[in-house]
Amino acid sequence: MTSHVDRAITSGRLSVPPRSTRPPRSLTDTELHALLRVADCLIPASGPNPKASAADQYTSFLELALAARTDVFDVVVDGANKLADVAEEDLWEALKTMSVEDKFTFDPLSSVLAGAYFMTPQVMKLIGYPGQHRDPAPLELAAEEIGSGILDPVLDRGFIYVSANGE
C-alpha cells in the first residue's frame, strides 16, 4: 500500500500549507551563477526589458521563487547545474532539447526563473501588471455598463429555455 502524507508529522494546521520566504538552503555561488545563466538565456534583454539577472532585485525574488517551490528545489538547482558546462553559444539549443526530452526538469526550472522575473517591481511595471490587489468597484459601475444597452439584443430575442412542463 502507498501512503499519501503523514498527518501526524504536522503539529500545525491541516488545511493551510506553511509559507516560507527562504529556500530550503542557501545557494552556493556556483549554483546561483548556473541559475542566472539559464535565466538570462530564457529571458534575454529585449527593447526596454532587461535580461533576467539585470532586473532590479532579481536574486532576491529568485530566492522567494525557490522558497515557493521547495518541492522542486533540487530539480531546479540540479537542472541548472547540469547545463553549467554547456558552452554559451550552445545553451539555447540545450534548453530547447531539455524542454522536449526532460519536461520534469525544464518546466519547474523555467517556471521558477520566469516567476522570479515577473515578481520584480521593475518588470511588473514594464509589462503593465499591477499585481493582484484589493480594488473594489464603484457601486454604480455595473449599472452603468448594463445601462449602456449592451444587453438589449439578448432581451429583444426573448426566452430561449426549453419548457419541460415542470417549471
Partner: protein, 545 residues
C-alpha cells in the same frame, strides 16, 4: 445516553453532519435553526482569508504546488489521495471547513427546466424525481441567505429569476466578450456569482482580486466557512475539525445508523452517536465512506442494495479558448467568478450530432506566469527568448472563454476503493474510473469551436485552445443518485437513503444528471430541501419514540 469510547465520552446529537462544505453548512444551519442539536465532523480545519496565496507576491508559484487544486499534488495533512490510475480526468477537491467552496469560482447558475427531464426531452439517461419548479423556492431561499449577485430575468430561464444583490461589474473583458456574443446573435448574461457586490452579513464587498479559485483574500466570496456555518454556530451547531470519518455504524437489530467512527488529530478512534446521520462529503468522499462502512449486514457497502453507490460519476469536462487582444483589458481584475455566461448552446439540438449541451463563461486571466504556463503548448522559440516579454504582456489583455459540458451518467464511471493506495490514517483511498464518452467528446469539440468563434468575432490577436482540462474537474456528481425506485437509486428525492431510514445524503452525489451549470448552486438548494425534510423526520421520530 452517552457512549464511552477509547478516547472519551461523547453525548449523542440529533443530527450528525459529515463534511463541512456547502451542503454540510446548509444542513447544519437548517437543523440548528429548528432547535436540533447538531455536530459537524470535518477532516480539515479553518482557513483564513489572510492565508490565501494571492496575499503574497509569489502567488503564481504557490498555486502550482502548495495551493494546487489537486490533492494529489498539494498533499496537505487534511487531504486524502485519489487513485486516478484508470481515469481520463483527475477530480479535485479541498478539504477544510468550507470544503471545496474555498477554491470554487462561486459561479452561481441554476439548472434549467430540461435538466430535470433529460429522459423525457432527449430520450437518454433518466429524469429527476423533482422538477425545476420543485427546487426553485429552495434556490430562492439560499440565494437570499448568501447574497447572490446578478441581474434578474436571464432569458435562458423561466420568468421569475431574481437576485438579492446587484451584479458585479462586467469589466473590460466582460464587455468585450458580450459584444462578441451580440455580434453573433447569441445569448449571454451578466455573470451570476455568489460573490457579494456589496457588504452582506458576514461577507465583505468584492475587492476584485481576481483569484477567487485560489481563495478570496477579501472574504467576499460565499465560501461556506464564511456564510451559513458562522450562522449555524451562532445557533448552537458544533464543528469538530481534524476529524476523519472512517465508518458509519448501524444497529444490527434495527438497521438504523447509530453514529460515526472517526480518527481525531492524534489518530485516536472516536465514536460520535447520533439520531440522524447526513453525509456531505462530496461525490467522491461520500461513496468512499459508504463503501468503507461495509460490514456483515452490508457486505457491498452501506445503503448500496442497488449497487449504485459510486456509479454514474459525472465530472463536467471543461474546454477553453484563451484569447489575447491588442487593447488593454485589465485582465488581472476580478471577480473570477464569471464575468458573463452564455447558455446559447445549453439545450440539445439534433443537428449537432450529440445530446445535451454546454455552458460557456468568461473569466479574467490574472498573472503573467499563468499566461506563460498557458503558452507552453507553443514551440520553444515562440515562448522563450525575446518572445517571453510579449507573452507576459498579453496576460493583461486576455479573455478566457471556458466551456463546461454535460456528461451523461454511465455505470462504469465510478468511485470504488483503491486496492493500492491509502490515506495517512491507513484508510483505502477512493479510486476513480472515468472515461469520456463519444457524446461528451463531440460536445467538447463543438463547444470549443464556438469559444474560438467568440474570440474571432471579438478580434482576438491570438487564441490558445485546450480541448479538455484533465486536472480541473471539481464538480463531483451522481455517485448516490436520487430516485423513487430503490432498485435504481440510492436516495429518495429528499436525500434519504432507501436502505437506512435515518441516513441521508445531501451533496452532489444525489444528482441524477449533471446539466452543465456549475453545481454548487443546485447542491445548496438540494441540501436545503433535504435538511428541511429531515427536520420533519426527526420531529416525527421523536414523537414516535
Amino acid at each position: 445516553m452517552s457512549t464511552e469510547t477509547s478516547a472519551g465520552i461523547h453525548s449523542p446529537v440529533d443530527v450528525l453532519v459529515i463534511g463541512a462544505g456547502p451542503s454540510g453548512a446548509v444542513v447544519a444551519h437548517t437543523a440548528a435553526a429548528a432547535g436540533l442539536s447538531v455536530l459537524v465532523l470535518e477532516q480539515g480545519d479553518w482557513v483564513n482569508p489572510s492565508d490565501f496565496p494571492a496575499n503574497h507576491p509569489e502567488w503564481e508559484l504557490l498555486i502550482q504546488h502548495d495551493w494546487s487544486h489537486d490533492p494529489n499534488v498539494r498533499r496537505l495533512p487534511s487531504d486524502y489521495p485519489v487513485d486516478v490510475s484508470e481515469s481520463d480526468m483527475w477530480p479535485v477537491m479541498f478539504n477544510a471547513v468550507g470544503g471545496s467552496s474555498i477554491f470554487y469560482g462561486a459561479e452561481w447558475p441554476r439548472l434549467v427546466p430540461s435538466d430535470f427531464r433529460v429522459k423525457t426531452v432527449d430520450g437518454v439517461s433518466d429524469d429527476w424525481p423533482i422538477s425545476y419548479d420543485d427546487l426553485k423556492p429552495y434556490h430562492d431561499e439560499v440565494d437570499a441567505f448568501i447574497g447572490v449577485s446578478g441581474v434578474d430575468g436571464d432569458t435562458a430561464y423561466p420568468d421569475g429569476l431574481q437576485y438579492p444583490l446587484p451584479p458585479n461589474p462586467l469589466g473590460k473583458a466582460g464587455i468585450k466578450a458580450a459584444e462578441a456574443a451580440n455580434t453573433l446573435g447569441w445569448h449571454w448574461w451578466p455573470g451570476t456569482n455568489a460573490i457579494a457586490s456589496q457588504k452582506f452579513k458576514t461577507l465583505e464587498q468584492c475587492g476584485r482580486w481576481g483569484t477567487c479559485e485560489w481563495g478570496c483574500p477579501q472574504g467576499a466570496k460565499a465560501s461556506f466557512d464564511l456564510i451559513y456555518l458562522p450562522q449555524a454556530q451562532q445557533l448552537g451547531a458544533k464543528i469538530v475539525t481534524g476529524a476523519r470519518v472512517r465508518k458509519v455504524r448501524t444497529d444490527e437489530h434495527t438497521g438504523l445508523a447509530t453514529g460515526a467512527e472517526y480518527l481525531d488529530r492524534e489518530g485516536a478512534v472516536q465514536f460520535q452517536p447520533a439520531g440522524t446521520v447526513v453525509l456531505c462529503a462530496n461525490g467522491v468522499g461520500t461513496p468512499r465512506l459508504l463503501l468503507l462502512s461495509a460490514d456483515e449486514r452490508h457486505p457491498n457497502g452501506l445503503a448500496n442494495s442497488s449497487d449504485l453507490v459510486g456509479r454514474n460519476l459525472m465530472l463536467h469536462p471543461n474546454c477553453s479558448a484563451l484569447g489575447f487582444y491588442e487593447e488593454p483589458l485589465e485582465s488581472w481584475r476580478g471577480p473570477a467568478g464569471q464575468l458573463i455566461h452564455s447558455l446559447q448552446f445549453y439545450e440539445s439540438d439534433p443537428a449537432r450530432g450529440f445530446v445535451r449541451g454546454s455552458k460557456m463563461h468568461v473569466l479574467p486571466t490574472p498573472g503573467p506566469l499563468n499566461a506563460i504556463e498557458a503558452h507552453r503548448q507553443l514551440d520553444f522559440e515562440e515562448l522563450w527568448g525575446p518572445q517571453i516579454h510579449n507573452a507576459a504582456r498579453r496576460a493583461q489583455n486576455g479573455i478566457l472563454w471556458a466551456g463546461q459540458v454535460e456528461d451523461l451518467p454511465e455505470l462504469d464511471n465510478r468511485v470504488t476503493l483503491s486496492p493500492d493506495l491509502v490515506d495517512s490514517d491507513g484508510l483505502p483511498a477512493p479510486k476513480v474510473e472515468y472515461r469520456l464518452s463519444e457524446n461528451t467528446w463531440a460536445n467538447l469539440r463543438f463547444t470549443l469551436n464556438r469559444l474560438v468563434e467568440l474570440h474571432e468575432a471579438a478580434g482576438a490577436a491570438s487564441i490558445l485552445t485546450q480541448e479538455i482540462w484533465v486536472d480541473q474537474p471539481g464538480h463531483l456528481l451522481g455517485t448516490a443518485r436520487m430516485g423513487n425506485d430503490a432498485a435504481t437509486s440510492v436516495v429518495d428525492s429528499f436525500g434519504k437513503t432507501h436502505d437506512v431510514d435515518n441516513l441521508y445524503i445531501a451533496d452532489g452525489s444525489i444528482f441524477v444528471t449533471s446539466g452543465s451549470a456549475n453545481p454548487t448552486c443546485t447542491i445548496s438548494a438540494l441540501a436545503l430541501r433535504v435538511a428541511k425534510n429531515l427536520v420533519d423526520d426527526v420531529a416525527a421520530r421523536k414523537v414516535n419514540a
